[in-house]
């Protein structure tokens, strides 16, 4: 086995692994990217069925709980969208708090949440939520 021959093998092997990885990455990105929308984005172009994340504030007075079922509204203070969720809401979930919600928009315009994420640390607004509030012109600085 000469040095040159060996190098050739290794380059081929490396390309094989990298090629395989690239193929995996491309297919996975196509299927598994989850886009983030604000309630205003949803009002402008509602795309039912696709898996997505939405973020905003839980509207004051909108939370209705019925056992493990919960309904509430998420707002960026310009628009809002109704959400329904079955399961246990995170400890830090409460009205007026920033949340990120993953799920699909139902055909009735209500968002079916499969996951509700509230920040572990309430000091900070989730960045995506802050950005979407800024976009809606409703950002009030760092104040809670």
């Amino acid at each position: 086995m000469t040095r040159k021959r060996r190098r050739l093998y290794f380059v081929l092997l490396g390309m094989l692994v990298l090629g395989g990885a690239t193929a995996l990455v491309l297919t996975a990105l196509k299927d598994n990217l989850v886009y983030f929308y604000s309630p205003s984005d949803l009002a402008a172009k509602a795309v039912a069925g696709r898996r997505m994340r939405i973020g905003g504030l839980v509207e004051e007075g909108s939370v209705v709980k019925d056992g493990t079922q919960a309904r509430f509204k998420v707002t960026d203070l310009a628009h809002d969208v109704g959400v329904r969720y079955t399961g246990v809401l995170p400890d830090l979930f409460r009205e007026g708090q920033g949340v990120v919600i993953e799920g699909r928009l139902g055909t009735d315009g209500v968002f079916d949440a499969s996951e509700v994420l509230a920040k572990h640390d309430e000091k900070y607004m989730p960045k995506d939520v802050a950005d979407s509030l800024k976009k809606a012109g409703q950002w009030k600085g760092e104040a809670r």
Partner: protein, 630 residues
């Protein structure tokens, strides 16, 4: 006053680090022993300075000195002492100071442990180490000073997030940092070796234990973090592909590859430039990991702060360190003398193949972690890349890696004779397939038998070599036993992953007192929910009687705590572990009179995740404890 001493000591450390960066390099270039010797004493002085600064901050926490902004924001008089101490690194500024302290510790270890190293190599490595310290100390002093005062001092602090008040988490960051910073040794010596144009077996013998030590610490740090997530978040998951978890996984993957390629340099003086490249990449990923967390550029549960100045500083530092060393690599690596040749089918060949897979795995995790950032800055929309992406990409890359692990110990160095080990490999493969078939009746997804089969293959492949050696009457060195234990640990971790991922059952419901819910063969009877009072929280504590097949299994008492300062709820799950399964109960909010939301899980084999991780670390320690080369 003590805080001012700390601040001054930190500034002094910066000055010392600057001297330590420049003087030894000049000394090494001129072959001037006096100048090179500066590196050792400077490293010691730097440790003393940073330790004083760290001690000063700790003093502030322990005495609850709220005239310090950092203490006021993150501590509280009512906090238990352990968390006052751990609170030092529970925040951005303090954690960076801990980073600098560990870096100084490693730097000071070089002159102590490396007396017989060639003086120029030692001097150059210490200079590189000091250059990293300069970057970090500048970062701390200019953007994240922990000694900033607050006027007037508040009477009490804001408290620490109750989720972080946990022994698992108190020790998670120090271990993680020992790992991250430990890889700086391999990096510094790689850069020093590049400057000298010489990487050889002696270099590898010196770098290997440090890399191994860093790897052990990082393994433990990741396991602690995962364990913490498992039992405190109350969702029963142990890995979320959160950006911060990824940030620690990437250097671990690259570091694992580095560990194995150093072995090839040590034994065969081969793969030198690949090893040097890996050393640079591993430390680069460690830096990236630190900064992904610290700069808050990624939406994550861990991100401490979002400050553009910090982000920019971090980016520049990263570019200088990684870009500079890669440029040096490009210039000097071709000059490294190539070592022994080997056939593709040989232990080196398989080690290299595994290395490529590990590096590619780290690359895909990096891509998935940074993709949301890239997409956002290119205006491709706001996206998130979640577990489905990583599972679809990362796991298919790891399957061949595990196969390689099963086969590699059976092959000889330099040139493996497949014919000679064919029956052994057949046996290993047969054992794996048998185990896979054996779990088929358990059902679950298609990959469950595959995963168990792979784990069994690793088990057989790892044990085959030592068993044959022992039967032939040959002894085993600590290094061999350590490697065996670490590889068995990987097999156990795979078993735990498959068990949890494939065969878990869960139920979420409103449960009234007196009602029984059955999950995965276990019946949970809710006897009572009572209020209890802790030192700094109040809680609802549930009382479950858990039975399996009409036999009492356990009495479990999960809590839902509400802390007084800051007023936040936290879930304390009740978990009962047996070798076969974990039973996991969580109580949520009240859902009505005498009714609570409960989450009940049965998670098979989870305990093997932690045992496997401990075995990996323990095997590393055992291997580390062997002084002489076998």
């Amino acid at each position: 006053m003590i805080a001012e001493i700390g601040h001054f000591a930190l500034t002094l450390a910066l000055a010392v680090a600057m001297v330590q960066t420049v003087v030894p390099l000049i000394g090494a270039a001129r072959q001037d022993n006096a100048l090179m010797a500066v590196s050792g004493s400077a490293a010691m002085a730097q440790l003393v300075c940073v330790a004083i600064a760290f001690g000063a901050l700790m003093h502030g926490y322990v005495t609850s000195d709220f005239s310090l902004l950092n203490v006021a924001q993150n501590s509280h008089t009512q906090k238990p002492m352990l968390y006052k101490v751990a609170g030092v690194w529970g925040n951005h500024e303090g954690s960076l100071l801990l980073w600098a302290l560990i870096l100084a510790l490693f730097g000071a270890a070089v002159p102590v442990a490396g007396r017989n190293l060639p003086a120029p190599l030692r001097a150059r490595a210490l200079a590189v180490q000091a250059a990293i310290a300069v970057g970090f100390l500048l970062f701390i002093l200019f953007t994240s000073n922990p000694f900033e005062r607050l006027y007037p001092a508040p009477t009490d602090g804001a408290g620490l997030n109750p989720m972080l008040q946990d022994p698992g988490l108190a020790f998670h960051p120090p271990f993680l940092y020992l790992g991250y910073v430990g890889f700086s040794m391999a990096f510094s010596f790689a850069v020093a070796g590049l400057i000298e144009g010489r990487i050889d077996a002696a270099w590898a013998r010196w770098v290997r234990p440090w890399t191994l030590a860093a790897w052990i610490a990082l393994t433990l740090g990741i396991a602690l973090g995962s364990w913490w997530a498992y039992y405190t978040l109350g969702w029963g998951g142990w890995w979320y592909w959160d950006p911060v978890e990824n940030a620690s996984l990437m250097p671990w993957l690259a570091g694992t590859a580095l560990l194995h390629s150093i072995l090839v340099v040590e034994k065969r003086e081969s793969l030198k430039s690949w090893t040097v490249l890996l050393a640079i990449i591993t430390f680069g990923l460690s830096l990236l990991g630190t900064f992904l967390v610290r700069s808050g550029v990624l939406t994550s549960v861990h991100a401490f702060a979002t400050d553009p100045a910090r982000g920019a500083f971090v980016l520049i530092l990263l570019l200088v360190v990684v870009g500079g060393s890669l440029a040096l690599y490009g210039l000097r690596a071709p000059a490294l003398k190539a070592g022994g040749v080997f056939a593709p089918v040989s232990r080196e060949g398989l080690l290299l193949f595994g290395n490529v897979l590990l590096a590619t795995g780290a690359g895909t995790v990096l891509l998935g972690t940074l993709y949301p950032l890239i997409a956002d800055s290119l205006d491709l929309g706001k996206v998130s890349v979640g577990p489905p992406f990583f599972n679809a990409v990362f796991l298919p890359l790891m399957a061949p890696l595990v196969l390689t692990m099963a086969a590699a110990p059976s092959l000889a160095w330099k040139r493996g004779h497949l014919a000679r080990v064919r029956s052994r490999l057949g046996l290993i493969g047969g054992f794996g397939m048998g185990a896979g078939l054996a779990v088929l009746p358990l059902g679950g997804p298609w990959w469950a038998p595959l995963g168990i089969g792979l784990a069994a293959g690793v088990l057989a492949g790892t044990l085959a070599e030592p068993i044959l050696r022992l039967r032939a009457g040959a002894g085993l060195s600590r290094r061999q036993i350590g490697m065996t234990a670490a590889h068995l640990g990987v097999a156990l971790v795979i078993v735990g992953m498959v068990g949890e991922g494939a065969w878990s059952s869960e139920a979420v419901q409103n449960q009234s007192i007196g009602q029984t819910v059955t999950v995965g063969g276990y019946s949970f009877a809710l006897n009572a929910v009572e209020p209890v009072k802790g030192p700094n929280y109040t809680a609802d504590r549930a009382d479950f009687d858990v039975t399996q097949a009409n036999r009492a299994f356990a009495r479990m008492a999960p809590e839902r705590r509400v802390f007084t300062v800051p007023p936040r709820p936290a879930t304390v799950a009740a978990i009962r572990s047996t070798p076969l399964t974990d039973v996991y109960a969580v109580i949520g909010e009240a859902a009505g009179p005498n009714t609570w939301i409960t989450r009940l899980y049965v998670k098979p084999l989870v305990i093997w995740l932690w045992i496997g991780a401990l075995m990996m670390a323990g095997g590393g320690l055992l291997s580390l404890s062997q002084r002489k080369r076998s």
